[in-house]
């Protein structure tokens, strides 16, 4: 069922056989708006024995457990304005031309999980995030940016009174939705076709809310898991304190099966002053100046250290084999606002990793990043033949 790309047979990532079948598959996606300085990020040689690059150095202990891809992208243009297509393959401005709009990788996976977990997905991030996660309606899902709130959502049980009132709200809302559906039908009788298609969107929204109400109602009475860590309090924190907390919480969310899909967004406005360097956006416009580049390296090194921290935690929790971690950006080179040759790293998932996989750079031979996302979804268990701009899968994988 998977489409192999002939020229690449020799370079299979080898999405290998499923790990233990009792382990559900999980997905973590991490996006950094400004990407990574290409000269520092991409290793100078390919294959599994590549010399680790300066930027990737903090991940060296895990080198057999991830693959770096060169020359993958969505063929997008727009600089900052195209970064949001990282996990979608499609810019929001183009979404009308695609049947699934600009839905992102994580949200397709989340739909697949449905109500099997309390949260179909957890979208987290710093500050405003970077517009990474999009649902089927073409609407962006903003990140939870306070670790205390995420902790609460995962582990803190609402009291009985609040549960009763929540149930009341759910019941009332369900009745209201019935009434609104009737109202819409009444209005529709006065409309022509163009207007009616707009009203259809409204009716679809009504159904969507209904479906989600039913899903959350089912979870209302099930107890939340007990937190294995001390409660995370709501307090003043630096962003560099928040990141490790989020990494831990994402791991815990997967471990307790509160969700199987988690995302994390690092915005353009990441508080790099906390690392005693200049503003992130300013540094990204380094114009190859040594002073700025060295500061940028401090930031990127810091981030890689955090990802290493995440990998460590996932291993500790025994999740690395069942969790695929996607790390990257919709920005290829922030200094010239290029959205080509994106930094893409895939880790874990019980795959046989290939080190540095250099994909064809020539125009006609290039591989769509969407193909990799399609394969990721198939690995996750989603049965589908297309995603974003996919032209096939990349690369062949065995689905059990």
């Amino acid at each position: 069922m998977a489409l192999a790309i002939p020229v690449f047979d020799s370079l299979n990532v080898g999405f290998a056989a499923s790990p233990r079948s009792d382990q559900p598959r999980r997905l973590i996606c991490i996006g950094n708006h400004l990407g990574f300085w290409p000269d520092g990020f991409f290793p100078s040689a390919d294959g599994s024995d590549y010399p680790i690059s300066k930027t990737l150095a903090p991940l060296k202990d895990f080198r057999s457990e991830f693959t770096i891809f060169s020359h993958l992208d969505h063929d997008a243009k727009g600089g900052h304005g195209a970064v949001h297509s990282f996990l979608t393959g499609v810019k929001k401005e183009e979404s009308a031309g695609f049947p699934e709009k600009n839905i992102s990788l994580d949200q397709v996976a989340a739909e697949h999980v449905g109500s099997a977990t309390r949260y179909p997905s957890i979208t987290a991030g710093l500050g405003e995030g970077t517009d990474m996660c999009w649902n089927r309606a073409g609407v962006r899902l903003p990140p939870v940016n306070n670790p205390a709130r995420l902790f609460e959502a995962l582990f803190v049980e609402s009291n009985a009174a609040s549960k009763t009132s929540q149930r009341q709200v759910v019941a009332n809302r369900a009745r209201m939705l019935d009434a609104l559906r009737e109202s819409a039908k009444h209005l529709a009788s006065n409309l022509d076709a163009a207007d009616r298609s707009k009203l259809d969107q409204y009716l679809t929204s009504v159904r969507d809310v209904e479906r989600r109400l039913q899903m959350s109602e089912a979870w209302l009475d099930k107890p939340k898991p007990k937190s294995p860590i001390e409660a995370i309090k709501d307090e003043e924190r630096m962003q560099i304190e928040e990141i490790p907390l989020f990494m831990d919480l994402m791991t815990l969310a997967l471990q307790t099966d509160s969700t199987r899909v988690a995302t994390f967004e690092i915005p353009l406005g990441f508080h790099t002053n906390e690392l005693d360097v200049g503003s992130y956006h300013g540094l990204s416009h380094h114009s190859k100046q040594e002073g700025l580049l060295s500061q940028l390296q401090i930031v990127e090194n810091y981030l890689m250290t955090q990802f290493a921290h995440l990998f460590g935690k996932l291993k500790e929790a025994g999740l690395m084999e069942s969790t695929l971690v996607v790390i990257g950006s919709g920005m290829g080179n922030a200094s010239n606002h290029s959205n080509r040759d994106l930094p893409v790293l895939l880790a874990g998932g019980g795959l046989k990793h290939q080190g540095h996989l250099v994909c064809p750079a020539e125009d006609r031979k290039r591989i769509q990043l969407s193909n990799l996302w399609l394969s990721t979804l198939q690995w996750f268990g989603v049965e589908r033949e297309r995603f974003g701009r996919s032209t096939g899968t990349f690369s062949p994988m065995e689905i059990v």
């Binding site: 063929d75 243009k77 727009g78 900052h80 401005e93 183009e94 649902n135 309606a137 073409g138 609407v139 962006r140 899902l141 306070n146 809302r173 009745r175 209201m176 019935d178 009434a179 609104l180 009737e182 109202s183 009444h186 006065n190 409309l191 022509d192 076709a193 163009a194 207007d195 298609s197 707009k198 009203l199 969107q201 409204y202 679809t204 929204s205 009504v206 159904r207 969507d208 809310v209 989600r212 709501d234 307090e235 003043e236 924190r237 353009l268 406005g269 002053n273 200049g278 503003s279 992130y280 956006h281 300013g282 416009h285 114009s287 190859k288 080179n333 200094s335 010239n336 290029s338 125009d363």
Partner: protein, 842 residues
């Protein structure tokens, strides 16, 4: 049939749009591909085609399609709106003298004129033929901005304090405008937010009970507390390593989260104002040590007045990391120069839950950072040196106490209110009339629902329209719910129902109620008021005299400021300002509140031209602008005093017109550096109504390289050495070069770096040369008619919630003609839009 018409209409709406965004561009070229497939032969050999064949096909034919344009299958007779689009583009290019490129074969002057005449005639014939298909705004949803103000006006709520749309997903945009029905998405996520907003709106508007008494609250120094007194207060009120309890009868502002410092108002710190309404706020304050001995303190410009900000903050559900604030807004700014205590007084609208906070707007960094800086720079400052060695816990406090730098000093704060002139407030009266909770029953519920729904739907109700919501309420009562609660559920359902959320304009000539809404959403971004509804009910609103009077009345209403702010915001993409974090190298951007001032400048400028009915040419040519002290410094102009913006005549030179206003220059940059390409596109898009085509695929990007010490201009020159790149860039970059003298926040500069001098000269694609911004402005002013046309198109787009079409083109032609023969002003132009056929029909 309907469908066919609609697709026809859609195509038509693609015609003649001068604001093609890149995505639109793609869809247009897709259509073109379809139009050509199957037909490769040349069309009838009429004069038009001969011209196209002689001068255009070489680059826009079967073999090459520069700029994605291909004309070899165009027929002289325009058969489809698609063809009309292409012909109009050709016409525009010829009129602008932009085509054929100067290095290609040129038509003689006679040939050119004959061609332009022929195309003009042929397009205009097509316009007449296609006119019947009309343009139609599909069921348009209130966007977030409109929803917010509609909720505010409908229920009399203070939506400046409480923003019901704070968490709504962002609206999609077409050509910058976010009220375009075609692009709008309604999602389950949005509906979820509607539920929450409706519940809170009804709850906020509901105020049974007696009229709250006006109360007086006062607080004298100290403003910082410890122990028991501080226990339930946010950190900002508490003493710590940086704040202490004063015994001097005054306090200097100490900072936690706010530069310069802030103090809260303890009497209202536990939940904020109990009731929304007008409050009088008085503060006794003084500016201390404005002139200071600390050269290392770059954040405060030595000798400046101290800017005191009165803010309204809401702390509900807040966390410490945001300074215990969930929402904040500026109520007033005041410049203080005297070191003697003075009283300042304002009357402001506080929302329920909000409390006042006083801030030192242009102060030095927050206390922690300030103490650190002082500690590092004790040398040469005896008051700091005298502190000597102290423990870690004490040194900061000692530093701050000894500090001789600028301070905002407060003695007392008084708050009195709410001052309510109507009770119950209008929103409550609309919902419940004079009913008390226990009086609400089956017998009056239908009535209450009807009254509210008529107001919410902005028109009389249709037969049976409320049946389902009535049923919901009665079923709930049957199931044991209190009648008041059930009624409120019904109100919420009305606010979530499609008739409230959408403007239903139908097809053909607008009914008077739909016209009332179209007018009010144009000028007020909100529902029609009583006079408009009454005129609609009397069937008089559509009469030209009535409409014209309403334009004057509505523009005189303070609510019309929403039109000014929102139209400018969308037209000029002002949301770009600050969207990309502005580099901290631009100290003044943050310290001097330049962001707010630059927006206000453009808004006042626009308002001035509108209110005085000045020629739209003024937008380009004005030799005055609106500045306050800080903007004047930013522009390098003679000093002014005060935070209030006022009209200032500009000296001959760089500044003048929209082109050099800081908002324009900041919105077209990214907060760090500038690009002549980006600004070149922006200038043409915003001022001339033309969007240059996007770069072709796979063109190499220019990578800024300061190590090679090349200027962006030199790099672009290299880029243009490539002929493919040159064909577009010679039409883009010249519009950006003259703005290179302005940095990413609109400050003047002569050099990029020490060795890199800026060259702002250039040559327009039409051949006119300019040395820099002053010449360039003159060239733009000479194109003021093109500017006015593009402004008209944008007003139309904003007013109608759709892109303009071929049929509108004829309407716009008419407006332009009248405007020019009557020497009309901008207000005349706005009025003409309202009186136009396009506005009257859907």
């Amino acid at each position: 049939m309907n469908n066919r018409l609609n697709s026809q209409t859609e195509k038509m709406s693609k015609v003649l749009d001068h604001q093609l965004k890149y995505t639109r561009w793609l869809s247009v070229s897709l259509i073109c591909v379809f139009a050509w497939s199957g037909s490769t032969a040349f069309a009838l050999d009429t004069p038009i085609d001969k011209f196209v064949r002689d001068f255009c096909i070489k680059c826009h034919g079967a073999d090459t399609q520069e700029g994605d344009r291909r004309f070899d299958a165009l027929t002289a007779k325009i058969n489809t709106p698609d063809d009309a689009l292409l012909w109009q583009e050709i016409l525009d290019q010829l009129n602008q003298g932009a085509m054929p490129p100067e290095d290609e074969k040129q038509p003689s002057k006679e040939e050119l004129l004959a061609e332009v005449d022929a195309i003009t005639q042929s397009v205009s014939d097509a316009v007449q033929r296609f006119k019947g298909t009309g343009a139609h705004t599909a069921l348009r949803r209130l966007n977030s901005f409109e929803y917010r103000h509609t909720i505010g006006d409908l229920l009399g709520l203070n939506v400046a304090g409480w923003n019901p749309t704070a968490d709504f997903p962002p609206e999609n945009r077409i050509a910058g405008f976010d009220n375009n029905a075609a692009a709008q998405v309604t999602s389950g996520m949005l509906l979820d937010h509607y539920f929450v907003a409706a519940e809170e709106a009804i709850q906020r508007a509901t105020v049974f009970g007696p009229k709250p008494e006006s109360k007086n609250y006062a607080q004298k120094s100290p403003f910082y507390f410890e122990g028991k007194a501080a226990r339930d207060l946010p950190k900002l009120f508490r003493t710590d390593r940086y704040r202490w309890i004063s015994d001097k009868g005054y306090d200097d502002l100490q900072a936690r989260h706010y530069r310069g410092g802030h103090i809260g108002f303890e009497p209202l710190a536990r939940g904020g104002a109990p009731q929304s309404g007008l409050y009088t706020i008085r503060i006794q304050a003084a500016a201390i040590d404005r002139t200071h001995p600390y050269d290392f303190l770059k954040d405060f410009r030595n000798g400046d007045p101290i800017v005191m900000e009165l803010a309204a903050v809401n702390r509900e559900g807040s966390v410490e990391s945001t300074g215990n604030i969930t929402t904040e807004r500026t109520l007033a700014l005041e410049e203080l120069t005297s070191d003697q205590p003075q009283w300042f007084e304002w009357t402001v609208d506080l929302d329920c839950g909000e409390e006042p906070e006083v801030r030192f707007r242009n102060g030095a960094p927050a206390a922690k950072g300030l103490a650190f800086k002082l500690g590092k720079n004790v040398k040469g400052h005896p008051e700091l040196e005298a502190i000597g060695k102290l423990g870690k816990g004490e040194i900061a406090l000692a530093m701050l106490k000894a500090y001789r730098g600028p301070k905002l000093r407060i003695w007392e704060i008084q708050v009195a209110g709410p001052h309510l002139d109507q009770w119950p407030p209008p929103g409550h009266a609309l919902l419940y009339g004079s009913l008390k909770p226990e009086q609400i029953s089956r017998s009056n519920i239908q009535d209450r629902l009807r009254v509210f729904a008529e107001a919410a739907f902005r028109r009389p109700l249709r037969q049976g329209e409320l049946a389902s919501i009535g049923k919901l309420v009665f079923n709930k009562i049957d199931a044991g719910m209190q009648p008041l609660d059930a009624l409120q559920l019904g109100f919420q359902a009305i606010l979530c129902s499609p008739a409230f959320l959408h403007l239903h304009e139908g097809t053909g000539t607008l009914g008077d109620y739909a016209l009332a809404s179209r007018l009010s959403y144009f000028f007020w971004s909100s529902m029609p008021d009583q006079p408009l509804i009454q005129l609609a009910a009397a069937g008089k609103l559509h009469e030209p005299g009535t409409l014209s009077n309403q334009v004057d009345r509505m523009l005189a209403d303070p609510k019309s400021q929403r039109f000014v702010q929102n139209f400018i915001r969308l037209w000029l993409d002002l949301d770009h300002i600050g969207e990309m974090p502005v580099s901290t190298d631009f100290v003044s951007f943050y310290r001097d509140n330049i962001n707010a001032a630059m927006r206000a400048e453009t808004e006042m400028f626009f308002r001035h031209i509108l209110d005085n009915n000045l020629s739209p040419r003024e937008f380009l040519a004005a030799d005055y602008t609106f500045l306050n002290r800080e903007l004047a410094i930013h522009y390098g102009l003679p000093p002014l005093e005060g935070v209030q913006l006022r009209r200032v005549s500009l000296p001959q030179g760089a500044r003048g017109g929209l082109l050099t206003q800081a908002s324009f220059l900041t919105a077209s940059a990214n907060g760090v550096d500038t690009s002549p390409v980006v600004r070149g596109v922006y200038v043409q898009e915003k001022l001339l109504g033309y969007t240059p085509p996007p770069p072709p695929p796979d063109v190499p990007l220019i990578e800024p390289d300061a190590s090679g010490a090349k200027t962006i201009r030199e790099q672009l020159a290299m880029h243009r050495a490539n002929a493919t790149c040159a064909s577009c860039h010679r039409k883009i970059d010249p519009f950006g070069f003259p703005l290179e003298n302005f940095d990413a926040i609109g400050g003047w500069r002569e050099n990029y770096s020490k060795d890199n001098k800026i060259d702002p000269s250039g040559e327009l694609p039409t051949g006119e040369k300019f040395q820099g911004i002053t010449d360039f402005r003159s060239l733009l002013v000479a194109r003021h008619e093109q500017f006015t046309r593009s402004l008209t198109e944008k007003l139309m787009t904003y007013a109608l919630g759709r892109e303009h079409t071929l049929a509108d083109r004829a309407v716009i032609d008419g407006i332009m003609k009248d405007l020019s023969s009557n020497k009309g002003g901008f207000k005349d132009l706005v009025r003409a839009v309202v009186l136009s056929e396009s506005f009257a029909n859907n």
